[in-house]
Amino acid sequence: MFGEWSYMAMLAFVLVASGWLEFAFKIRVWRNPVRLFSTVLLVAPVFIVWDAYAISQGHWFFDKDQILGIYGPLGIPLEEYLFFILIPIASVLTFEGVNSAKAMLDTWLAKREKVSA
């Protein structure tokens, strides 16, 4: 759909679709870089090794016309590295977004109860 930027387009969507939660729900995910990057650093390598094995064994293949063609260590496309950085971040943003939305709702309900009492 986007030529060699096709996979990158999906990653850009993930970044935008999850990124706004930081501001809308006043959460501190991007603003706690130590905790965020520690999370990525602990999780991503496991899946990068899995990815390398899966590629070597023919579990999955990438269409050369739809990726940029930049390869990192272990012969893994750049897009895959970004995937294993962005998906953990998007997961965490969603979790914290829900936590914050729930807390906001509880506060609002408590206030309303006080007013009507």
């Binding site: 759909m1 993930v14 679709a17 999780v43 579990h59 269409d63 739809q66 953990p88 829900v98």
Partner: protein
């Protein structure tokens, strides 16, 4: 090893780690809503990746059952990745709060 075997191992290992580090993820009702949202977006984005043929799969490495274009194994793979990310994040938060608590206690003393 096939993708199917690895996907099940991935899920098992993710659950074991969640337990081992005491992330208490599955006790949080918010987690289930968050996971539902993440899974919805996984089906959309992964449906695009597989539907456009950006990623294809070795047919003899998967069971063959598909959800939104993608092999069901991808849901297991996604579960492992997302559960581990949320678990580690939660645990690091617990460590952070404990440290802040200790600091506050020692400052008050």
């Amino acid at each position: 090893m096939t993708y199917t075997m690895l996907a099940f191992i991935g899920v098992a290992v993710a659950i074991i780690i969640e337990r081992a580090i005491g992330a208490k993820l599955f006790r949080s009702p918010n987690f289930y809503l968050a996971y539902f949202i993440v899974m919805f977006f996984q089906l959309v984005t992964n449906g695009y990746l597989t539907g456009q043929g950006i990623v294809t799969y070795g047919e003899d490495m998967i069971m063959g059952a598909r959800v939104a274009n993608a092999p069901v194994e991808d849901l297991l793979f996604g579960f492992a990745l997302v559960i581990l990310s949320m678990s580690v994040w939660s645990k690091l938060g617990q460590v952070e709060s404990a440290r802040a608590g200790n600091k506050a206690t020692s400052e008050n003393a």
